[in-house]
Each structure stands twice: as structure tokens, then as C-alpha cells.
Amino acid sequence: MITINNVSKVYPNGSQAVKNITLHIEKGEFVFIIGSSGSGKSTLIKMLMKELDPTSGEIIINGINTTKMSRSQVPYLRRNLGIVFQDFRLLPKKTVYENVAFAMRVTEASSRHIARNVPTVLSLVGLQNKSRAYPNELSGGEQQRTALARAIVNNPPILIADEPTGNLDPETAWDIMYLLDEINKRGTTVVVATHASDIVDEMQKRVVMLNHGNIVRDVERGGYFDEA
């Protein structure tokens, strides 16, 4: 599903964020990317969603080499990726419903299709009663659940999240992680960069650990601080 081949990233200022990483992620996997601050997690995630291009190496997503992709193709790549951020990134002047519907509208989905799918994903994330609320009327957890609903409403094969619980209290963080697990069980490949050690320990998923831009550990069912 995702193949990362000898990928390196050097920022224009010379800082080497990712160093020659090779990684395969199979369809249906749930992968935590962990590592201390500055280890290159966000850089890797940004290259997956083609916000950044690798300095060398290639990334293949769903059989398509995104490194060679033209700029005009990027929107179609992103429709295959549900993306969730630490800071939610909701449209502040649209309601919960409109925020989720927006991701479908972008794909020129029919109104009928939108009217059917949006309520379904909203109830999946438990927000069926908040559909008319605006983002500033929601708690952080509810905002992130809206973002999750938006990420999955087009039923993408892959969901990518960069510190999705970074702005949430521990209990709400667990809600979000359970939801991610739920989404994964429905068949979506999930990649999560996180600092939440307790959650990683508890969930026993595949763990890829970065340190100074290198993969220093990759275990099938691991915890946060396991030895390599």
C-alpha cells in the first residue's frame, strides 16, 4: 500500500531531517511512527501527503509513484489519503456538517451522495447531534472527531495523522485513538505519528521509531520504549 524507497530529505537550510529511509506498509496495517522531537516524523508524513518532495528516493502509494507525479495530479492523490492534523484544521465559518460535506464536494460528488454519506460518518464518530455546530462551539475532542469524519468521508484507502492527540487531554486522546482503531478495522490503512507513549504501549500495534532521521526500530507489535 505504501512503499518508501531510500528516501532522504534535506531542507534548504541544510538540515537533514530524514536519512535514507526504506519502509513498507501493507494494506490494512496500523502503524505508529514515534521518536523524539526533531527526529523527522512530520517530515516523513509531509512527504507521504506530498506537501514536501523527497530530496532523493521514491515514495509509492497505492501503486503510484508520487515522486514523479505532476502538480496537477496531487489533488487526486490526496483524495486517496485521509489526513488529520494536530490542530484539526477545520473551516471556522462552516458547520460540522459543511466541513465534512466539503471534502466530498471537492470530488464533485452528487448532492444525493453527500446527503447520504455525511450523516453516516458523523454518527460513526459520535457527532450526529452536533452537525449544526460551528468549530468554535466544540471541544477539542469534538473538533478532532469532525476532522476524522472529514478524513474518512470519501472512504480513502489510507489515513495519515500527525500527532492527532497532541492538543487533547489523555481521556479524549483515547477516544480518538479508539476511533482510529475502529477505522482501521473497517479496512483502512492507518499511519499515526505520535508522542503518546501510554497509548502506543497499550495498543500493541506496529511501531516504527525514528532517531535523527533514521529508522532505529521497527517491530510488529510493540510498545513505546521497547528495546530494539
Binding site: S72, R78, R79, I83, R105
Partner: protein, 299 residues
């Protein structure tokens, strides 16, 4: 493009205008001010041009025939004059008509009375009108070729002045309107840039959920069109009656003007300015919005 998307673009464009109402009013006011200034300049320059053209057509060429010209020669010359390109009107003036003209002009019936009939020393002549003063030199050359002509008279000094004036008005007009146009684009782009800057997160989010550049652009294009149309309509609606009023006031207070030159009719001038103004407004609005969002599409 699907119909539901078109509806969405229009809806988003209009609600964007309403949400950022302050910016909308500012943009419309800028477009309106620019189009108003350009409209006023066009009226001034258009009239100057028309007046110069009028003066030009008053400056005719007079062709004098040899003293012994008979009716055969007169007909032959008349035909040849009519065949010259850019000649619009050839009028034959008999010696008697020329004399009557002189009498009237000098108000000297008695002095000139001895020259009537057989004694008339004036030659047969033609007054030749031409379409444009730029063609005068060529026409004069062609006239010189005709047999039986004693001499050709034209107001060379007046012609030169008019030609120069015409050139100056054209150049000043084109440069002036070009400068105003550039200033308008800069002001409008900046106004819209602020409105786009306020929505950069929104654009950014759209990119992450997989919106194509045009999906993001269209609502802004709709905004640009609405701003352009309203921004052009306001000054046009104001300046049309304003122009008519100014023209009639000018005639009233400076009645000599009527003899020298007349102003262009307001329909004549505004039937050209209105479509051009609307087009310019739309172009300004669309150009302003599309160039302003380009920067934020690169994610």
C-alpha cells in the same frame, strides 16, 4: 464542470463577498473610482479628438483652373478630382459664385460691383473635402498631376498645427489611460490580496482535502466578476447623466462653442464606454482575484 459545482461556486463566491463585506465594499469602491476616472478621461479625449476631426474637415483644399478653362476642362477636372482616393466631396465654384462669396465676406458690394459678368477676374475653382488630414499630402500630389490647373491652395499652417495636436492628444490619451489602468490593477490586486490573505488557512485546508486549483479559484473568480460588474456599473450609471448635464451646461454658458465645434452626443460616447467599462471591470476583478490566490495554491 458539473452543474452542482457551478451552483457551489456561485454560492461560495457570493457568501464570501457577504462574509468579508468590508473588503467587498473596499474593492468595489476601488474599481468604481478607477473606472470613473478612466471614463472621465475617455470623455475628454474622445471629445478633443472629435473636435479636431471637425476642424480638419473644415480645412479644405481649393483648386484653381487656368483662366481659359471651358466647360469641357471643368468636367474633366471634376471627374479626375472625384477619382482621387480619400476625397469625399468636390464642389464646383463658378467665378460668379466666388465673387458673391467675396462680396459677402468683405461686405463690399459697391467696390466689387465693377467686376461682375465679363469683367470677373476670378478663375473657375473647386473646393475639395477630404476624409482625414493625414491624407492631405498624398491628395495634393495627385491634384498636381491633373492638367489644366493653375494652382492649389491649402491651409498648410493650420494643417500642421492640427496634425501635431492630434498626435499629442492621442499619445497623452493612450499613456494616461494605460497608467490609470496599471494603477487600478495594482490597487485592486492589493485589495483582493488582503481578502485572500484572510482566507489563506481556508485555501490551505481545501488543498489538503484534495481540491483542485480551479475548484479553489472559481469562487474567487465569481467574487471578482461581481466586484467588477458592480464596480463598473456605479460610475457608468453616474457619469452618463453627468456627461449630458455637463455638455448642455457648456452649450448654455459658452454659446460660441456651438460655432466652432460640437460635443459628442452622450449616447454616441457611452454606447462605447459602457461595454468597455464593464469588460474592464470584470477583467480587473478576475485578474485581481486569480493573481492574488496563486501564491496560496502551492501546497
Amino acid at each position: 464542470m458539473k452543474l452542482s459545482s457551478v451552483r457551489y461556486y456561485i454560492h461560495e463566491g457570493i457568501s464570501g463577498l457577504l462574509r468579508n463585506s468590508l473588503m467587498t465594499v473596499a474593492s468595489i469602491a476601488t474599481v468604481a473610482a478607477c473606472i470613473f476616472i478612466v471614463t472621465v478621461s475617455c470623455c475628454l479625449i474622445g471629445n478633443l479628438h472629435a473636435m479636431l476631426k471637425q476642424l480638419e474637415s473644415d480645412i479644405g483644399i481649393v483648386v484653381f483652373l487656368d483662366d481659359d478653362a471651358d466647360s469641357n476642362l471643368i468636367n474633366k477636372v471634376s471627374d479626375e478630382l472625384n477619382q482621387i482616393e480619400h476625397v469625399t466631396l468636390v464642389t464646383y465654384i463658378s467665378p460668379q459664385e466666388a465673387l458673391d462669396g467675396l462680396k459677402e465676406e468683405w461686405d463690399a458690394d459697391d467696390i466689387l460691383s465693377g467686376f461682375d459678368g465679363e469683367n470677373n477676374p476670378l478663375p473657375h475653382s473647386f473646393e475639395v473635402s477630404i476624409d482625414s488630414i493625414e491624407n492631405q499630402a498624398g491628395i495634393l500630389d495627385a491634384i498636381e498631376q491633373i492638367d489644366g490647373i493653375r494652382n492649389v491652395k491649402n491651409a498648410q499652417a493650420a494643417t500642421d498645427v492640427l496634425l501635431k495636436l492630434n498626435k499629442v492628444v492621442s499619445i497623452v490619451g493612450v499613456i494616461g489611460i494605460a497608467i490609470l489602468g496599471i494603477i487600478s490593477v495594482v490597487i485592486i490586486t492589493n485589495t483582493i490580496k488582503i481578502s485572500v490573505y484572510n482566507r489563506r488557512t481556508e485555501i490551505n485546508i481545501m488543498k489538503y482535502v484534495g481540491a483542485t486549483d480551479w475548484f479553489i479559484r472559481w469562487p474567487f473568480v465569481v467574487e471578482g466578476i461581481v466586484i467588477g460588474v458592480i464596480g463598473a456599473a456605479i460610475p457608468l450609471i453616474i457619469s452618463w447623466p453627468l456627461y449630458s448635464k455637463c455638455v448642455s451646461l457648456a452649450y448654455e454658458h459658452f454659446s460660441i462653442l456651438t460655432n466652432i465645434a460640437s460635443f459628442l452626443g452622450s449616447y454616441e460616447i457611452f454606447s462605447k464606454i459602457v461595454p468597455l467599462g464593464l469588460l474592464a471591470g470584470i477583467a480587473l476583478g478576475v485578474l485581481g482575484s486569480v493573481t492574488s490566490i496563486r501564491k496560496y495554491l502551492k501546497v
